[in-house]
Symmetry: C2
Subunit: 578 residues, 2 copies
């Protein structure tokens, strides 16, 4: 059940044919000697780990869940061993800084592996992604000594990471958090307060857990400019860097959730815990946001992985399950019925999942590549593009991932609803990705307010201009140009109207993000169709591209209207009438 | 948690103002003396039962689930007592035949109560709706003696019903079922075979369980014309009609499911069980379908109830939860933050749920009214309309119900994902309604093939013509006419193209059903806005109508394109490429 095979052919097609990474990397000294063979070997090994080690624990992990007792958390059977393989294979340090024992690989490559790990076992990989995220934050903002102490141990997964942001009354609005930090005489800080929804805050899989905690100094300015970030390790490292004194914080309980049951989500109580300032005082939120661009792409990859996993199950079920007859006469006349695949409505569901998943994969790689260009070539256009597209990657990939999981479940009929088959788990697990790491509504507001209105749409315009210059298969050209024109017209109108209508950005945010997402997917399908080889694999790509343009891209016609509806359509209702 | 209040003001508005039931009923002798006061009293009592007896067990029922042991099923604590209240109050016999101790009330009224019961506790109400469904089938097709024996006991809920259709290899395709029936010397039949997914097939809440089982006689024609329907009671009634000998069938196990955990879904093994033919030999599927029109509307109401329940939770959360500030400046300057309700994106989610739910309620009542007109006035136009709209009611109400549950969950952020708050349960419970009682894909195929293409769209055209003659608020007129024109143009084109393109109906089915649904909701919003009183309640109705036209109806622009895409967009991909 829930078998998973890494889609290596598609990954290699995207890397080598669609994004021509050889050319991109040739220009970046860090990656110039990454041979195709090495990349293929990395994908192969990662795929094995995902399919053979992580995936087999996905369903049992969901069934067993995590157990909390007296502040300690026991993870499901086999998780510790599998995590040790994941960490020990160097996968968490894949894109880590080589100066501190990271592998120094491109983020782009990391994206491909992250998709596999998320697809194979999202609960298990959560312990990894939080570790990667903590390492990114430490690498960007910590002191030299802190980097030397923490990074190698995080890259190796000996120690894992956790991000402690949310408080019961402060979720999307971190500015009102209350957790406090008091300076101690030795340069450390005493951290006191309660955080909730702390993924991997406590578990039994590593020697130490490095919490990055947002807290407020007594004299800090109010709101989000008065928040500092602290490294708060479960065991305070001794002088040789080994886990020493147990720090004074503990898991108060774990949540019982809709999904990702094998991921431990803790209430954490910090009781004067020893913390070490990470970066500057009162700059904590900014530091946390550096990490968030990466984490948000990673959570987007969770949605993508869910879509791929769901597709694999549903496609194989639809090929084997015999039910009903084709509208054009029996296709399996010897059998009692035809395969589900003969039915147009079943194909509609499968092709929707596939078209959204394969475009999503291309999109995530494009964003990953911008992160690499920004980081390693200090390319300001790539930096702007990565900032523009990060909220889209987080929200659109996870919204579509959930849509895909639900569609794939539908292909199974009643078998999709019972736990035995495992498909319903994909739906339950995928749902969280739309919520955590900033809800998708928050992403949409970030896109429209900070990434589009702030520069009057010019970063987006630059991207669209580049797209217009690309070669496109003739059959898709007209549709793509219409979609690009529509996006640009809507964006210009939105920029202009938002000056008078302060509520418009919020009212239109989600629909606008979807409009951007569907339009960019059209571009990526055009590029994939243009690049696809003249063989069976390439034929399927071209069919999927046609399906996308005929059956999914028209959603932008609705979004064009709804984005430009006056904000009064949502704001006019009296609050008391809700 | 998960508190539920029946939306009585809206129900009364729809009944008395929008659908003017007094005028409709005045013309029907059976209902002519149904006073407004009596109707209000029924709604009030039903609302109390739903809110005070059923809803408080919704979450505990989910947590405890059902327990299977040695063929017997224990339902969650309190379920038996609550079911006794539901049944004892006469609610299951509300629209039942008064000749057999039913209450003889209109189906339309039954719809309103069903929505409440589904919303309050869908697992618990499932035991009721299967009982109502069995009674409808028996009333329509059974012998006089069978009616006299079974109907009073089903209406009173002393005995409950179950429908045994699905087999492991035969779900959507019932024609290939294998369960067999052999005539016995005493006029009964011996039923042998295994059925799966049998809702309420075994439980501990009633003295007897009346299974309606589809099975095949030895000499029956192959396929769906060779299926007969049998009454197979758990305890064979003795001569005085009391439960006698235990019949030879049993629950082999119950399913562990994504949701509706308190509803027992059994594998049923019939081992030469005594069955009594219901209706004619080999006419079983047709008999089952009579019942299905009612059951399908009922399942639609499950989706509707989920939307209403979800809205109530999310709206109250959004009013109380303080997070962030309004785009137009602080609205709650004394507090740490503004209520979620100030944010356009939160309002978009809430208004989507509300606009879809309130239109859905009006739609379900319209369909219920057609069922009454068809049954009690033998009105052929109403009969045709009820057949046309039943698949839309089942699929569109449940698809939108699930969409609404997911949106409402999103309003809660992280709290929507943890079990404690109960909102995630609404999502898990609502999901099944898209699958059972004929998947929504099956509904869409039924709509397009049997209800639209078969009469070349004339029933739909008659409905649209009637709609065109209605008064509409000026601000909505243009939008409504455009939507009606669009639906008619697409339908005509579909009818014409389907003659050449046999795969088109299946490929377009789901999108076409959605197009019908959204267009009819526009009509119902126009009618509600036109009818709404000049007070606060009426203002909210008008705001919702505007929201619907501005933000939801545009989805039909996309559907217009996708329905008319050539079927090759889904059929061209080679089967081996999936």
């Amino acid at each position: 059940m829930l078998e998973y095979q890494a889609p290596r052919q598609d990954l290699e097609f995207l890397l080598f044919d669609v994004f021509k990474v050889q050319d991109v990397w040739a220009d970046m000294p860090q990656f110039a000697d990454l041979s195709d063979d090495l990349v293929r070997a990395v994908l192969e090994e990662g795929g094995k780990l995902a399919g053979q080690v992580m995936a087999p624990l996905n369903q049992s992990g969901d069934q067993q869940g995590c157990q909390w007792q007296d502040g300690e958390v026991r993870t499901p059977q086999g998780f510790k061993e599998a995590f040790t393989e994941l960490a020990g294979g160097g996968w968490l340090g894949l894109s880590g800084n080589p100066d501190y024992e990271g592998q120094g690989m491109p983020k782009l490559l990391g994206c491909l592996l992250e998709e596999m790990f998320w697809a194979a076992n999202s609960s298990l990989y959560l312990y990894g992604t939080l570790t990667v995220g903590a390492a990114i934050c430490i690498e960007a903002h910590a002191s030299e000594a802190q980097k030397a102490l923490y990074l190698p141990r995080l890259y190796s997964g000996e120690w894992t990471g956790a991000m402690a942001l949310t408080e019961a009354h402060a979720g999307s609005d971190l500015g009102i958090m209350r957790c406090r930090a008091e300076p101690a005489d030795d340069g450390s800080y005493a951290i006191t307060g309660t955080k909730i929804f702390i993924t991997s805050g406590e578990h039994d899989m590593a020697d130490n857990i490095v919490h990055l905690v947002l807290a407020r100094l007594a004299d800090a300015p109010a709101g989000s400019r008065g928040i500092s970030l602290f490294i708060v390790p479960k065991f305070i490292p001794d002088e040789s860097g080994n886990p020493g004194t147990r720090n004074s914080f503990a898991s108060g309980s774990i949540e019982h959730k809709m999904g990702i049951n094998a991921s431990a989500t803790s209430v954490m109580n910090y009781d004067g815990a020893v913390g070490f300032l990470l970066g500057e005082e009162n700059q904590g939120l900014a530091a946390m946001f550096t990490m968030m661009n990466y984490e948000r792409l990673s959570v987007g990859l969770q949605g993508l992985g869910a879509g791929e996993l769901a597709y694999q199950q549903a496609a194989s079920y639809a090929a084997e399950r015999l039910q009903g007859r084709s509208a054009t006469g029996p296709q399996n006349p010897e059998g009692p019925a035809d395969a589900l695949l003969v039915h147009g409505d079943v194909r509609r569901m499968l092709l929707t999942v596939r078209a959204l998943t394969e475009a999503g994969r291309a999109f995530s790689m494009f964003v990953g590549m911008q992160l690499d260009l920004a980081k390693y070539k200090a390319d300001p256009a790539a930096q702007a593009l990565s900032e523009l597209l990060t909220p889209v990657a987080k929200a659109f990939l996870t919204d579509r991932g959930f849509e895909c999981a639900v569609l794939a479940q539908q292909v199974f009929g009643g078998h999709g609803f019972v736990r035995e088959w495992g498909v319903e788990q994909i739906v339950r697990d995928a749902r969280i990705a739309q919520i955590y790491e900033g809800t998708n509504g928050i992403q949409a507001m970030d896109l429209i307010n900070r990434k589009v209105l702030r520069d009057a749409g010019s970063t987006l315009h630059a991207l669209v201009s580049n797209i217009r210059s690309e070669a496109v298969p003739p059959g898709l050209r007209e549709g793509l140009i219409a979609a690009l024109d529509r996006l640009e017209a809507v964006t210009a109108e939105l920029v202009s109207r938002s000056r008078q209508d302060a509520d418009l950005p919020g009212s239109a945010a989600t629909d606008y993000l979807d409009l951007v997402g569907y339009t960019l997917y059209a571009w990526l399908w055009a590029r994939m169709a243009e690049t696809a080889p003249q063989d069976q694999f390439g034929d399927a790509k071209r069919r999927c591209a046609e399906f996308y343009f005929a059956r999914i891209l028209p959603r932008t016609l609705a979004l064009e209207q709804t984005v430009l509806a006056h904000s009064s359509s949502v704001m006019a209702m009296d609050e008391s009438a809700f």
